[in-house]
């Protein structure tokens, strides 16, 4: 994985010095809160309901064991011993004190990490497939391009004060695990007719209060032109994006208002003017970055299922349950990808204690070449585990309550922090997620239901991605009471779709029952191996709507 050289390191250290000076100016009263706010936001520091929240960037969701240990130490030293993994593959600390924030950032810099551009109207952390470099269906490792984008977008002088925040996602697989169609820019690697690998460029997708599926602005972009094309899009957006209304300032609104053809015309004209500039990527530069992502020293193992794995699968029911849900196929024979669920019943989705982070770092060192990934579904991944080691990994995870066998199931819920922490929320998300998880605690039933993506947002800003949940839940405020509006049929993968609104919002107690009813309706209607989403797409909204509202 990527290792900072002295140049990268100097940038983060200079940033810490700069921010320390700004905090000093704030604490001395030289800066008012109004003047300080944009500066702290550029360093990922938000003022929340109870304390400052620090959002740490985890570039494209890739962590080394050393970095995860660094995060665990920061959780103990400056927070209450917890970290919260987010849908942007980042980590948030919820209890930071302002005067300690510079020290926390200095500690981060020591493990090659930072909080740069984790908020503000700039280009945010680029996200990607959590299985990058391990996935069996991958065309190329997308992290190479994420890192190239990271460097280009870090302190970009032209694009630090955009109309609104800007999010880029990259997938290197045809099976999109990075939700590229719901980002400001989505990049999908594919081969053209000549067999060359390049990018389909998708623009103007996004969730929030006005959700859109992104539109293709270019079918095929040669790799060496990536930065010129991104710069062209960003420049058009910076000049023409709306600034009169914060809620209409994202690029999706610009694309929607002027149309994709007009957008393409502007972008292509700008691209033509800068295509052959210094932005064009030399082969040597691509090779230098790609070298950081060379595969780890895999053992040459026979294809097929490792005997130790098969044996445990047959003889240990609990292990089998876990292996079926929480492991995925690896490109390297004899290896597997392990997803560590951070959705244990009763815990807030995405939370990990410092002790758990330490344990995962140790397990990664022993069994996964010291690598860990963060998923946008708020779980962690050990990308390179030998199949033969799976039983041992499972036992090690289990000792730290990290072996919940529910990846992709009803209890593997995405939820934003909600009204428990967030100043913007209308309703709580975490307690609802916990109640739904409890409702589907029976593993037999949960596995029978199969893949079901439930996503909860506490407000219209949609941090919990409810629009693309198979079942989406949106917290709304009705005369001071928390209500929840349900949507069905959303999806963030290669068949991306926005969910349809089921009907009037329900109160919290009815919401949990309603989820149960929706699932029962699906079980009655499903044919063969259909997932909830497949059945929904076949039968439509009506039967579900009747099941929920007919009785009332």
């Amino acid at each position: 994985m990527y290792q900072y050289d002295q140049l990268d390191q100097r940038i983060v250290e200079e940033r810490v010095a700069q921010f320390s000076d700004q905090v000093k100016r704030r604490l001395s009263g030289e800066l008012s809160e109004d003047e300080f706010k944009p500066l702290r936001l550029q360093n990922g520091l938000y003022l929340q309901l109870h304390a400052y929240m620090l959002r740490v960037a985890i570039p494209y969701g890739t962590l080394s064991s050393k970095q995860l240990r660094g995060l665990a130490q920061i959780a103990c030293k400056y927070d209450r011993g917890w970290g919260h993994f987010t849908t942007r593959q980042n980590l948030q600390f919820n209890w930071i004190r302002l005067e300690q924030a510079p020290d926390a950032l200095a500690d981060l810099a020591r493990v090659q990490m930072h909080a740069i551009q984790t908020s503000g109207n700039c280009i945010r952390n680029t996200t990607t497939d959590q299985f990058a470099g391990a996935a069996h269906d991958e065309i190329e490792d997308p992290r190479v391009w994420c890192e190239i984008i990271r460097q280009w977008s870090t302190f970009h002088p032209e694009f630090s004060f955009l109309p609104r925040k800007f999010k880029i996602a990259v997938t290197g697989s045809p099976n999109d695990r990075a939700a590229v169609r719901v980002h400001d820019i989505g990049l999908r690697m594919h081969r053209n007719d000549a067999g060359e690998v390049g990018f389909e460029v998708i623009v103007g997708g996004g969730l929030g209060r006005t959700p859109f599926i992104g539109k293709t602005i270019r079918d095929f972009l040669p790799k060496q032109d990536l930065l010129s094309y991104l710069e062209a899009i960003l420049r058009v957006y910076n000049l023409f994006g709306r600034r009169d209304n914060m809620f209409k300032a994202r690029i999706k609104i610009l694309v929607h208002e002027i149309g994709i053809e007009a957008m393409r015309e502007k972008v292509e004209a700008e691209f033509a003017a800068i295509r052959d500039s210094a932005l064009r990527l030399p082969e040597e530069t691509i090779a230098q970055i790609a070298a950081h992502f060379a595969p780890p020293p895999f053992e040459a193992l026979p294809a097929g299922i490792a005997p130790e794995y098969a044996q445990a699968f047959r003889t240990d029911f609990d292990f089998g349950l876990w292996a079926r849900r929480n492991t995925a196929r690896h490109k390297q024979p004899g290896y597997a990808i392990v997803t560590i669920s951070l959705k244990k019943e009763g815990e807030p989705p995405g939370d990990a204690s410092a002790e758990q982070m330490q344990a995962i770092a140790d397990i990664a060192d022993r069994y996964s070449f010291g690598e860990i990934r963060v998923t946008h579904e708020q779980n962690l991944v050990l990308p390179h585990v030998k199949q033969a080691d799976l039983p041992a990994v499972w036992r090690a995870l289990k000792a730290y309550e990290l072996a919940t066998p529910n990846v992709g199931l009803a209890s593997d819920i995405i939820a934003c922090p909600g009204l428990d922490y967030c100043a913007l929320a209308n309703a709580r998300s975490i307690p609802l997620a916990q109640q739904i998880a409890r409702r589907f605690r029976n593993w037999e039933r949960a596995h029978d239901i199969g893949e079901l993506k439930i996503k909860i947002s506490g407000c219209i800003n949609a941090c919990g991605h409810h629009h693309v949940g198979h079942i989406g839940i949106l917290g709304v405020d009705k005369a001071g009471e928390e209500f929840y509006q349900l949507t069905l049929g959303g999806s963030a993968d290669d068949s991306a779709a926005l969910g349809d609104i089921l009907g009037p919002a329900l109160n919290q107690a009815r919401t949990v029952d309603a989820i149960d009813t929706l699932v029962e309706t699906y079980l009655q209607l499903r044919r063969g191996k259909e997932r909830f989403l497949d059945t929904y797409r076949r039968v439509g909204l009506q039967p579900f709507k009747e099941a929920i509202y007919a009785a009332a």
């Binding site: 050289d5 140049l7 990268d8 100097r10 940038i11 200079e14 940033r15 010095a17 700069q18 700004q22 003047e35 944009p38 500066l39 109207n121 460097q151 280009w152 870090t154 302190f155 970009h156 002088p157 032209e158 694009f159 630090s160 004060f161 955009l162 930065l227 420049r235 910076n238 000049l239 600034r243 003017a273 500039s277 210094a278 932005l279 030399p282 040597e284 530069t285 230098q288």
Partner: protein
């Protein structure tokens, strides 16, 4: 207002002339973009230097070819968070080869000076006594730059490529 130019506080020799007011023909004057558009034919005959205040909503691609005839182009930051003028500045410098004074006006804050300088600004209306000091500090706050702009700073990528070439030469 004191003007910070190339790192020094200098006297602003340019007088801002409101639309409709008399335009002195014996000293450098800054006029609005609207006035330039309306009186272009007369103004083109003027001998004394002319500067222009360009709104950040102006069509920069249409204006660009004319940029060379102005001694100063003053771009505007109505709020520090409105970043359109960064793109305008880069286009003027890099696309249209503008070499005159490029001035940042409006809500110009010390923490944005480095970005502005990288985008091509060389003059700043920054109303504080220690302007020169904060400017020097702002420019020194970062010493590594990832992305190429027209500012002549060496990028991290160039440094790495040179390193690579040195390694190859040593082999």
């Amino acid at each position: 207002m004191p003007l910070l130019k190339q790192g020094h506080v200098v006297e602003d020799i340019w007088v801002k002339v409101e639309d409709g007011d008399y335009l002195p023909d014996d000293r450098p004057a800054l006029i609005s973009h609207a006035r330039w558009e309306a009186e272009r034919d007369t103004l083109q005959k003027r001998n004394a230097p002319l500067g222009i205040l360009l709104p950040n909503t102006a069509d920069i691609l249409a204006f660009g070819p004319e940029a060379g005839r102005f001694g100063v182009i003053a771009l505007q930051f109505p709020k520090f968070s409105d970043g359109r003028a960064y793109s305008q500045a880069r286009l003027l410098r890099e696309r249209f080869g503008y070499r005159g004074e490029l001035r940042a006006t409006g809500n110009v804050l010390r923490d944005q000076l480095l970005h502005m300088h990288r985008a091509g600004f060389d003059a700043f209306e920054i109303p504080r006594d220690d302007a020169a000091e904060v400017f020097a500090k702002a420019l020194a706050s970062l010493s590594v730059f990832y992305q190429p702009t027209g500012d002549g700073r060496v990028t991290a990528r160039d440094l790495r490529l040179r390193h690579l070439l040195r390694e190859e030469a040593a082999e």
